[in-house]
């Protein structure tokens, strides 16, 4: 999922004065942040920045996909079909945050006050298998405001939606919203699934398609038909060139579909796509085992060779960046920064990191696969 950069907002003098007073009295920008530990006595998990919400149910969809049914707290402001949000839950004392698309419609939220998020269990993942078990009997989580611009285009332009696996979630939201709101635009969904048993929400989509002339849904069984190709699109949706093409799925699939539809003459303006996790680093490399490291703030991408790995700190310095650093042996924590995605090895403890967003020490971290850093 594309991670939207939070833009620096201009602060009014009044707001700045309020922050200054709050900083003086509590060392926090907001007084409520200081009071958080006391508020949490009554409302466990309550935080200033996110909306405390209740997980009502964990509903299995297929073998490895489940849906969280959540009742967002009152402060939550709603969403547009296709948007994603961050869900935060406490796992063994540690707050874990992940991005997921909302898979239900805004109309459904309006009616019931509930939203749904459909999640694929990542094998060996730290969070996705755990969430399912931890919330089996319900529980408390925190939600961020919804964000993202992978939403239906303005106006009535027809769309072609191409989904792979659990990349179906934003499209489920969009199609059920169209059905509920009587949106008359022409929409065609091509849904690539591994095999028949993995056809998520099949009955639901077939029902929507049967009840609405403007919505068509084609299930593409990859076990029989193979991966996406130019032939598929010409056969199933011949007028694709007049449509906005929206893609969501695993990274290699998105790259393949973009390549094919561009080759068929669809302009970049008419292609929208959404990754799960940070966008991959699009560079060629000499050896498959080499890792690319993207220093986002510095605007530099560098290669870390598998044969001769160096710490991320040295790599940054070799590439002309000067991140803040101190002891260089993992003691002082001055070079700590945020890793947005990718796996790193901590050379001090010998432990591998998780794939998601977390803080790491540059001086004792070696990239294992492609890494995106907020440096």
């Amino acid at each position: 999922m594309s991670q939207a950069e939070t833009s620096v907002q201009s602060v009014t003098p009044l707001e700045r004065a309020r922050q200054w007073v709050s900083q003086s009295l509590t060392q926090e920008n907001q007084i409520t942040a200081y009071l958080e530990p006391l508020i949490q006595v009554v409302l466990p998990g309550w935080t200033t920045d996110a909306v405390r919400s209740k997980v009502i149910q964990v509903r299995p969809e297929t073998n490895d996909v489940y849906t969280l049914v959540i009742r967002p707290g009152k402060r939550w402001k709603g969403f547009k079909a296709g948007q994603h949000l961050q869900i935060t839950a406490e796992q063994n004392g540690s707050l874990q945050t992940r991005f997921f698309s909302v898979s239900s419609a805004p109309a459904y939220f309006k009616k019931t006050g509930l939203i749904e998020m459909s999640i694929r269990v990542q094998e060996g993942g730290r969070v996705t298998p755990w969430l399912r078990d931890a919330f089996a009997a319900g529980g408390i989580c925190n939600l961020s405001p919804a964000e993202g611009d992978f939403t239906l285009p303005e106006g009535n332009q027809p769309v072609l939606m191409i989904a792979g696996g659990s990349g179906i979630t934003p499209f489920r939201s969009m199609l059920s919203q169209m059905a509920a709101s009587g949106d008359k635009r022409d929409a065609h969904l091509m849904f690539y699934v591994r095999d028949a048993s993995n056809a998520l929400f099949q009955e639901e989509f077939e029902k929507i398609a049967a009840e609405h002339d403007n919505i068509r849904v084609t299930f593409m069984n990859s076990a029989e038909k193979g991966v996406f190709s130019a032939e598929h699109i010409k056969e199933i949706c011949p007028d694709f060139a007049e449509r906005k093409v929206m893609i969501c799925g695993p990274t290699p699939m998105i790259q393949l579909v973009r390549q094919v539809v561009s080759g068929e003459g669809v302009s970049a303006d008419n292609i929208m796509f959404e990754y799960f996790g940070a966008a991959p680093i699009e560079l060629d490399r000499a050896d498959a085992k080499d890792a690319y490291v993207s220093f986002e703030k510095g605007g530099v991408a560098a290669i870390s060779s598998a044969e001769n790995p160096v710490s991320l700190l040295e790599l940054a310095e070799q590439n002309g960046l000067k991140p803040l650093a101190g002891c260089r042996v993992g003691v002082c924590h001055q070079c700590k920064c945020t890793k947005k995605s990718g796996v790193v090895l901590n050379t001090l403890t010998g432990q591998y990191s998780d794939t998601g967003r977390e803080d790491i020490q540059l001086c004792v971290s070696v990239p294992v696969n492609d890494v995106v850093l907020d440096v």
Binding site: S24, L25, E90, G93, G326, H333
Partner: protein, 370 residues
């Protein structure tokens, strides 16, 4: 008096066993530690808000003023020591809690958090007790070993100790600027620090302004408006005393951690191309522990486990008690001294050390050491 170093084999096995302790304990870190630090933060909030409120009841009877002051003093101690010091070391970063994160945390203290992270986490923890590199050794004002050349003004250092103790938060705040010779002495050229001298000065005063506003303007004024101007001064004085309580306590605990009689010092040459084992060894010899109740450990921010803190600065403080038992055994096995004692016994040796080195070195003593 610098220190001899044990054989490479001893250090290697020492290093391995300490790493084992670290790995074992870090594997246990989780919900229990999170619950612990959150509970401490809650108690701190309760003591701070409660202390400030109870102090106002001094309007009816002075005893409430005193109770409030002690509560606020304890809140400041918890904030600076068990919460601030440990959080700013990154001990609780794994919790991913934005309010307990080493990069963003700031404390109720006139010292700017960023400045402290630079001088303490980096200089002091990396170069512990290396004369000339670790400026925390004597805080540039006290002479605590013969490695520092004696000058006539050191005769007065027992008095300096008292001044340093009372103004400890200000000394810590000024520490980095003093090292850079910002206001006095020959200015160092810029470039060594990640921020410019101008920014250093700006941060220094910005933090002081906020702390002064809180303790000596805002809270006294709020109370003064409703209860009259004598209460303005009563609250301001109460806050001053609470700050003094914190200053004196923090100073005593910190001095017990590095300046007791048996604590060793090192030369820069000793530490060139140091191995990890050697580094561990230096940390142990350069630190000393305190024995006492659970309350002492919490109120000292677990600096009563200074040895373990220096070995594993980013291990959650909650685990230091467990670590101490095992580190002590490993030290005994490798015949490496492990310095510990009660607060009273340790502090006596600190005071003795301050007096001892306030006098010029005896020539014969020099020879014997050399």
């Amino acid at each position: 008096m610098t220190t001899p170093i044990p054989s490479a084999d001893t250090l290697e096995s020492f290093h391995k066993e300490l790493d084992e302790i670290r790995d074992d304990l870090m594997a246990k870190v989780g919900e229990e530690d999170a619950r612990y630090i959150r509970r401490i933060v809650r108690v701190q909030r309760f003591l701070e808000l409660g202390g400030r409120a109870v102090m106002v009841a001094g309007f009816y009877h002075w005893i409430w003023w005193l109770v409030g002051v002690v509560m606020l003093g304890c809140a400041k101690i918890l904030d600076n020591m068990e919460i601030g010091h440990n959080v700013m070391h990154g001990q609780y970063d794994w919790m991913n809690d934005p309010h307990l994160n080493s990069r963003t945390f700031d404390w109720d203290n006139v010292c700017d958090g960023e400045s402290w992270r630079r001088t303490h986490n980096y200089e002091h923890h990396t170069y512990t007790n290396i004369i000339g590199k670790d400026r925390d050794f004597g805080y540039d004002t006290l002479r605590l070993s013969d490695d520092v050349k004696w000058k006539a003004h050191y005769r007065w250092q027992p008095i300096r100790l008292i001044v340093l103790m009372l103004s400890f938060q200000w000394a810590v705040a000024y520490h980095e600027l003093f090292g850079e010779r910002i206001f006095v002495g020959k200015r160092r050229p810029e470039g060594k620090l990640p921020i410019s001298h101008a920014e250093l000065i700006k941060d220094f005063f910005s933090k002081i302004r906020r702390a002064v506003f809180r303790d000596y303007i805002f809270y006294p004024a709020i109370v003064g408006i409703f209860l009259g101007w004598p209460m303005f001064f009563a609250i301001a004085a109460g806050n001053l005393v609470a700050n003094l309580i914190r200053n004196v306590w923090a100073n005593i605990i910190i001095f017990c951690g590095h300046f007791t009689e048996e604590v060793h010092t090192f030369s820069e040459e000793d530490c060139e191309n140091e191995t990890r084992g050697q580094w561990y060894y230096r940390q142990i010899l350069g630190s000393s522990n305190l024995e006492g109740s659970k309350l002492l450990h919490i109120m000292s921010g677990h600096l009563s486990r200074q040895v373990e803190h220096h070995l594993f600065p980013d291990m959650p403080s909650y685990r230091y008690g467990e670590a101490a038992e095992r580190v002590r055994q490993v030290c005994a096995k490798h015949n490496i001294p492990y310095n510990t004692g009660t607060l009273w016994d340790q502090y006596k040796t600190v005071v003795a050390r301050v007096f001892k080195y306030s006098r010029p070195p005896k020539k014969t003593g020099e020879m014997a050491n050399a």
